[in-house]
């Protein structure tokens, strides 16, 4: 039986068929090489005039179209009837479309993201509880590198439907620090100290000027908002240095941070306190009494 199958196979591969097969392989190889060359050429040409995302879009479109054209040429060389195939492809396309809804959604979302440009490669974004630097913006997803060096793939449809923060979109930012100080604090002196801290910190910008807002009278202290502006690349340097400066300067100036506490005020000053008994708790005294009797 095996011999018979082998004989049938040999009969099938006539000289014509072999020639067609070799031609098809040649078309495939040459076609793929040409497509790669074309892709590299387009990348070079569009580098100066288009953003990375648009350039990638153009290259992908040409690659996929070219691959389909090469495939049809191969099928035509092999003698396959294209018309029947196109008819079947339509039906298959509908079936695939239903099955690939999520992928299509991501693809369409990717196109919207590329045209809307809420971010670009190199930006730092925050999505939910994840934040990181954008490595690539692809048709189906965006890849980010977190600050602890993890790789996260975020589907484009999620990005389009979620609130997203582009941390580095604008060149400068403001760092807002909430400070709660004791009610005994001299507010004027506090303002002077905070302005002096901002003035001596090398990462703080002179302008826009630092912001000091007397925010609220809280239960345990006075709440202030201290906002300093910085260049987006100096976030870590500023955060660490200014927190330390505030702590050290407050200690030097005798400005106390507020902490939850209760003050008991009465009409009589000072509050009279009398020592009753030997210091044992009343419950212990009551428990001991019957035995002592």
């Amino acid at each position: 039986m095996l011999q018979r199958a082998f004989q049938e196979l040999v009969k099938f591969f006539t000289l014509d068929k072999l020639q067609q097969l070799i031609l098809a392989v040649l078309v495939a190889v040459v076609g793929l090489i040409l497509l790669r060359f074309l892709s590299a050429l387009i990348k070079r040409m569009t580098r100066k005039y288009l953003s990375q995302q648009y350039s990638m879009l153009v290259r992908k479109a040409i690659q996929y179209t070219g691959a389909v054209v090469v495939l049809f040429i191969i099928l035509s060389v092999l003698g396959v009837k294209i018309n029947a195939l196109l008819g079947a492809a339509g039906i298959v396309g509908i079936a695939v479309g239903f099955a690939a809804q999520t992928s299509m959604s991501n693809l369409i979302s990717g196109l919207f993201l590329i045209s809307e440009k809420p971010f670009q490669i190199g930006d730092v974004i925050k999505v939910g509880d994840k934040s990181g630097v954008i490595l690539s913006i692809d048709l189906l997803s965006v890849k980010i590198q977190t600050f602890d060096n993890q790789y996260i793939r975020i589907p484009n449809s999620l990005l389009l439907n979620t609130e997203l923060t582009n941390v580095t979109r604008f060149p400068i930012r403001r760092l807002d620090i909430k400070l709660t100080v004791s009610y005994r604090t001299d507010v004027t002196r506090l303002r002077e100290v905070l302005l002096a801290i901002a003035g001596t910190n090398t990462f703080c910008l002179d302008e826009p000027e630092p912001l000091i807002v007397f925010a609220d009278f809280k239960e345990s202290g006075l709440e202030f908002l201290f906002g300093v502006w910085f260049h987006r690349s100096d976030y870590l340097g500023l955060k660490n240095s200014i927190m330390q400066q505030i702590k050290e300067r407050f200690e030097t100036e005798g400005i106390r941070f507020a902490f939850p506490h209760r003050s008991l005020d009465t009409d009589a000053v000072p509050l009279p306190v009398a020592l009753v008994g030997s210091g044992r708790s009343p419950s212990r005294k009551a428990a001991r009494r019957p035995a002592e009797k």
Binding site: G199, T202, L205, E207
Partner: protein
């Protein structure tokens, strides 16, 4: 400034030949610089002391260090160099970013009037070796100026901030070896008064000149045409008239004309997004 001080100020910026086995020290305003030439290497270290006393202290050209006490405590930077030359020159240069000048008191310039004032700009010290084919080792600011933002938070630019008394007469301008005097002329060509609180000077377009007793930059002229119109800023092409004999000691970081074109094209780019 006494004649001795003037002489010292000139010598700070002159080229010198160093001996290979000696640590050298120079003082330019608050900046202390140490240099040593090893076979194949140059070593440079620095520190700043920004105190009132230091600022008033005389400059010191490169000289063999009097004491080695500081040498081990410093952070040294090392450059690989050829064996060809032991010559070194310290050159004063303008800061690497634009300066936002803020007068101590807001200046009001009535319409059709003009005002000339002077700004003392702390220079950067550029260390050049291997003369005459100079190789730049490093650039160090004599004074570390604070950063500021000029323009709106979305499209502005990062600059240095400098407060000035804006003296109107040259004899009121303090003489310091590490400061270059920039004459600023503001012409109010608008129909309204100009309440001037800050101005951004593109120091990257300014040359540094060495005069008899001071360092100078080109004169800067600002023509104000009204709040709703762009002001025009011009940089002179030669030493200011106050010291015509001043020789150019350092060229501008960027030639003025090229930069003006560049700014125009950046404006167009920001409009089209391409």
């Amino acid at each position: 400034m006494a004649a001795a001080d003037t002489e010292l100020q000139r010598k700070v910026w002159e080229p010198r030949e160093l001996r290979g086995d000696t640590w050298y020290h120079s003082r330019v305003g608050p900046l202390d610089l140490w240099v040593k030439r090893f076979p194949g290497d140059w070593y440079v270290a620095y520190e700043r002391q920004q105190t009132r006393e230091r600022v008033r202290q005389q400059p010191a050209p490169l000289h063999p260090a009097q004491t080695m006490a500081r040498v081990d405590a410093l952070t040294w930077n090392r450059w690989v160099a050829g064996e060809d030359s032991n010559r070194i020159q310290l050159v004063p240069a303008m800061p690497d970013r634009s300066l936002v000048i803020r007068p101590r008191y807001p200046l009001n310039v009535p319409r059709t009037k003009e005002v000339l004032f002077f700004v003392n700009i702390p220079v950067w010290v550029r260390v050049l070796v291997g003369l005459p084919d100079a190789t730049r080792l490093c650039e160090l600011p004599t004074v570390v100026l604070s950063n500021t933002w000029f323009g709106d938070p979305i499209t502005g630019e990062l600059c240095y901030s400098l407060k000035t008394k804006a003296p109107r007469h040259l004899h009121m301008v303090e003489k310091h070896a590490y400061m270059a005097v920039c004459p600023v002329l503001i012409r109010n060509l608008a129909a309204t008064d100009l309440d001037f609180q800050r101005i951004c000077i593109r120091v990257e377009h300014l040359n540094v000149y060495r005069g008899e007793t001071r360092l100078w930059t080109n004169q800067v002229e600002v023509q104000f045409h009204g709040e709703d119109q762009t002001s025009q800023i011009f940089s002179g092409r030669r030493a200011p008239d106050f010291d015509e004999a001043a020789e150019r000691i350092c060229e501008a970081r960027e030639p003025a004309d090229r930069s003006l074109l560049k700014k125009s094209f950046f404006f167009l780019k920001s409009l089209t997004g391409i």
